[in-house]
Amino acid sequence: MFTKKEKKFTLIRKRVPYLFILPWIIGYIAFTLGPLAFSLVMSLFDWPIAGEAKYIGLANFTKMFTADPQFYNSLIITFKFALIFVPLNLGAALVLALLITQPIKGMKFFRTIFYLPAVVSGVAVSIVWGWMFNTEYGVFNYLLSFLGIEGPMWLVDPKWAIVAIVVASAWGVGTMMLIFYTDIKSIPQEMYEAAAIDGAGPIRQFISITIPTITPTILFNVITSVIAALQQLTLVLLLTGGGPLKSTYFYGLFVYNNAFKHHELGYASANAWFMFIIIMLFTLMIFKSSSAWVFYEAEVKKEKKDKKEKKKKREVKNNEDLQKA
């Protein structure tokens, strides 16, 4: 039998967890679920900022797919950017992380320098790089001329503007580098030592030990950087404004302009929802593929444990059989 006090206590205990997570639940409804649902509704309307909204069914989506060349243009540009940016950034982050794990003096200094730009991202990045890429006074091409390279017209040349954006955004690779770094650091040294005794060189060690161990982190970085690449906005807005000749008219900018420049809120909602679905599909695909190339320590341990247990059971059974016999 519970006393009255104890009963009251368990009742409170049941409600307490919800009290703790209540702020998030309220926030989720007010700032995520509500807006998400509303945005879906808006995508079915012709919705100007001022004036009356008019229900138009799927017309926004039809317009997007059939009548707006800017939609395809910005989509292709964004994918092109992601295709260059994601592998480049991942590769660079991994190389830098390997570099700063080398047992060499002064590593903390280099680590700080590599991470520093990631701390100041956004407006400052685009402004400083914009100045360095400047066609008339830009120091970037001047430095390249020392190497005997004649620099292109960067931000004014439609062919090179997107490359300039890649170079400027790669400046913030530090965050990803740091994530790789902390993971590589946590690999036990003994594993490498054992491999070295077996005659594995540094490259062999990297392929057989480092890479397989950090696959969960690679997965995390792939997903976050794909999402970030598909949503790139601040840098284009400030660095090129979408130009020259719409060559850097990223999808994020396309949605932003439809909403806040052309004031077509319904159409912009439809655009945004399309990107939402694309991102979900990508994330799902990456996750699906991950079972083939991501190895979790816990899973390996569990498999071993399962095997052990099976073996034990078998032994027990064998013993029982023996005893019966």
């Binding site: 520093l116 407006v123 040294q189």
Partner: protein, 273 residues
Amino acid sequence: MKISKRHKILVYSVLVIFSLYFIFPFLWALITAIKSEPEVFSYPPKFIPDELLFSNFVDAWNSQPFGTYFKNSVIVTVLTTIGQLISCSLVAYGFARYDFKYKNFLFVLLLSTMMIPWDVTMIPLYMQFNMLGWINTLKPLIVPAFFGSAYYIFLLRQFLMNIPKDLENAARIDGANEFQIFYKIFLPIMKAPLTLVAVLNIILVWNDYLGPLIYLQDKAKYTMTLGLASFQGVHELQIIPIMAITLVMVIPPVLVFVFAQKYIVEGISGSIK
């Protein structure tokens, strides 16, 4: 692990080359900020100005109400950080230390919010804040922070999951109520991951451009990022004040990072796996 001298030289040279890429833009911004006008617009560019005009910083600061912008940025950054620390620690504690109905469902819901593109909720949120009369105030930038962010909650929860259950059970036997357990026992233990959350939030909010761009119109409400961006396009290339203000703006997050470096590295390693 020992490495050969040749290997060492190779690693150092690669490190130095990469360092140039990461550090040179800062350096170039500084060189530009203290040049005179004719020197800025000369080609080939000069690496050491004839005269070091540090007064450019003062002129740049006074060319727009940067005192006000700075104050607004500080208000938004400080208040959102307080909001995130309170809400995220509570929510993460709820998810990490209790079992309750729909817990897993709610947690997956929380994680899924990290995947929603910013553009999808941007328009309805704008209208929502517009209806509340919050446009052109700092409220849309501050208030949501008091309801937590998925990423920080996730990070704190991972930390809290590693603490043995005996801790709160002992406190319960001693007669502490649930909130006291959170406040008196767990909050002090969470100092390190909470510092990480604060640092990440300060860096993020201080640099935020799109939020202020959408919600603020009046110059008196501008944050530093808007003030800096407004140099562009108004007049032809005011490059000296732009570079000077950029450098000023970069100082707070860099300081925060330098002081909290330890927490960043530790916190990341605790949150991914």
